[in-house]
Point group: C3
Chain length 357, copies 3
Amino acid sequence: MIRQLTHGLGEDMKTAQQVADYVKGTLHGDGDTPLSTVGSLEHASSGALAYAETKYVDRIAASQASCILVPPDNIPERTVIVVENPRVAFARAAQWIVPSTLPAPGIHKTALISPDATIDPTASIGAWTIVEAGAQIGRGTTIFPGGYIGTNCHIGEQSILYPRVVLYPESLIGDRVILHAGVIIGADGFGFVFDGERHLKVPQVGTVRIKSDVEIGANSCIDRGAFDETYIDDGAKLDNLCQVAHNVRIGPHAVISSQTGIAGSSTIGREAMIGGQVGIADYCRVDDYGMVGAQCGIPTRKRIPAGQVFWGTPARPLKDIKRQQADLGRLPRMRKEIQQLREEMELLKNTLASKNS
Amino acid sequence: MIRQLTHGLGEDMKTAQQVADYVKGTLHGDGDTPLSTVGSLEHASSGALAYAETKYVDRIAASQASCILVPPDNIPERTVIVVENPRVAFARAAQWIVPSTLPAPGIHKTALISPDATIDPTASIGAWTIVEAGAQIGRGTTIFPGGYIGTNCHIGEQSILYPRVVLYPESLIGDRVILHAGVIIGADGFGFVFDGERHLKVPQVGTVRIKSDVEIGANSCIDRGAFDETYIDDGAKLDNLCQVAHNVRIGPHAVISSQTGIAGSSTIGREAMIGGQVGIADYCRVDDYGMVGAQCGIPTRKRIPAGQVFWGTPARPLKDIKRQQADLGRLPRMRKEIQQLREEMELLKNTLASKNS
Amino acid sequence: MIRQLTHGLGEDMKTAQQVADYVKGTLHGDGDTPLSTVGSLEHASSGALAYAETKYVDRIAASQASCILVPPDNIPERTVIVVENPRVAFARAAQWIVPSTLPAPGIHKTALISPDATIDPTASIGAWTIVEAGAQIGRGTTIFPGGYIGTNCHIGEQSILYPRVVLYPESLIGDRVILHAGVIIGADGFGFVFDGERHLKVPQVGTVRIKSDVEIGANSCIDRGAFDETYIDDGAKLDNLCQVAHNVRIGPHAVISSQTGIAGSSTIGREAMIGGQVGIADYCRVDDYGMVGAQCGIPTRKRIPAGQVFWGTPARPLKDIKRQQADLGRLPRMRKEIQQLREEMELLKNTLASKNS
């Protein structure tokens, strides 16, 4: 009744020649070599495709992989596929080789679907999932067991919601989005007004809009906007246990590592790279292609200029932080130098004083 | 079968005059203006109430809001409600205008309710919810689908547990508490004793007590006491992904931002403000009205005195941290000054030596 | 239908003499004293066992505990059990006294079990749990309601999965493992390759292997390996909201406090102690018995030598960090000294100049 999700155990094997054709590479060796999974150069077993970047070509000889994607500069005597960028070709080939056997289309009999919801017949709705009124679920989308799809949520095509994902009402999810288990989309932003005695809750009437090809890691939380949208643009990737507050905007293809928190109304630019455990306060801007090192703390309204690398708390340009750390390392020597100067100064003063007396 | 939760899309509209009366303000303009939602000054649309603080009154002219709460000092020529504190009045009005359409009372047919549990007939128990023996659920409380209410848990009146909240046994929840999706209350505290070979688990036999008007953000965890209570007092607000360890006590109306962790037996005072990603070690005290900046690290047994502002790791008074950062900024100049002194010292010594020779 | 989980409310009472025998201690006082729970020295009530370490023996007199584990050096006039290490004896006794009444064996009628899964008849499978094809669940293991056990997962004996735990396919869990509510095992690691336009997902085909006697706190996430295993060895303890990335290896009896994140391919040694909110970048090593202070940030490929204590960001030996902080504290005085030297230098130069003129 529930079909299995299989990682790396596909039956529909590819051959090395087929993979070479798929990644537009040149095959050397046995084109009939069967490939059913992928692996690292060091640990791949027979039947696996691996890859070697130029700096690791000396490890190729020892690899058990059946076929290896290699750069053109040094082609070994075994079954390999020559490509310009082995890493990129590997990712493409791996997506093709590794079967992602998802549950079959259809609505599980235990799911509770509002008569006012619209579910494409090719979508798969797992057991004990609720789909509320006005919700729309697109072609080929999979919702694993225990999903909660609130009122008026829209989910596009070919998206995957792993077990126990919760979408609060009016959350909008694009195509080919992956939400890992335990993700919470659209919970109330943290908005209160203190009236002198207590914090009054400001109703959070905004929404969340997640564009296409976004992936969000397990147990991450994306709050709904206070009045407007919290927005995650195409191709952005968020790791596990991230926090995205109300009205945050994350640019296309930005990458945000685990346990990072982004406070209200901050903006992350296109292809920005944010390390793990970074804290970004409210109303900050990380401009396009900005990079922020792990555990960095960006204070309120701070702006990271386009393409720059910042680190530390409070965040500074990486070179300033490195200089500051070098300065710190020189402190003991500075102290010693001051002491020497003092001693020599006393000596000089005594010398002069004795001359004068 | 499952009623929808609607944010900001109410049918029972209010008029501007009704809102003015509700917040005890003075209406200027058209009292019949219908108001069905709220918004920000910049993005509100027709039908929305917004507010303008004194510093933003110049933005009023461009706002599309149908009615604006304004301070008495500068009353524009449009439909406005004059109040002393527009922000507080807005929060009050918004709670009144925005309908929080919760699920209807009643127990969903798929819920599993122990015959020894007591559930008020006006409570709403969602699908696939368990309520164990000895549990009590009060008047008007809503448990969204997938709730787990352990043995002997008590929940007061008008509380809301969003989807997939887990209460371990004996957790006590007050009135008007909001627990967002994925919150875990009462998991075992992290208590072990190393016997020389392995860590023995110390059974965590305490409980969690959460008083009234508390709100806890998505996927946050509040551990049960080791022997006694973990305690969160009236009106405290915790953001997403917070960690509260065994025997912590959080004072009334304290505010704790996202991803903050509070270790065992620490105490947070009344109306304390704790920033995001703060780490508070065990046996610390943040006294009443204390403020702790984002990413601050408070070492074991440290006390933050009442009303003071601390920052940095290890935590220090904000002014000390700022002075230290200024000192750090002066390091390159200090190094240069020492070098100059050294050069002048050599010169002087040479001058004296040549005189003596 | 669902039996209750009771903490500290057992009916099968022990006597003080029985407890003394169990921990191999010497009873003084009334051996018939009934003991049904445990508590702290300060807050224990009648019927409770407590313990006193040597430094706290002066608090024994005021304790309401019915029996106290004490060290041999100072035996008070009340019912006590004398042992070498009261803390270790307490943990042992507490596990024995406090009944952990788990749900009865059997499969709840609402659970969905694949015909190709193997479940020991003494295991307990809670409501709305899925067990997929090829999964195996061992003797005496308990899965609370809402569990998701993916294809080919194996769980050993006497393990406990609290409500809403998710195991992605092929996750391997040992004996006597405790996974708290909301734990996610085996979600995809954060692996992407940028092709110049977008991040290509690298299929994560590895697995997670968790050995025996491991405990993992609520809402923590352990990602599957990219190609190989993410591995947690015997007896390791992880607190709430921790993040363990792909290919991480955690050694036996390591202790990792809450909200710590460990990035890809890093290794934590035997009995290492990692504080809360620590960030460990990729390819790091914390060697056996290493200690890492709270909020420490360990940069990529850094190694913490065996048995050493590190702190700060970037991580340094604790004594270096302390010296650096002392240096920082001396900065204002250094500045003053430089200024004094400058003044004296000017004075000297003037004196010499006037002499020469």
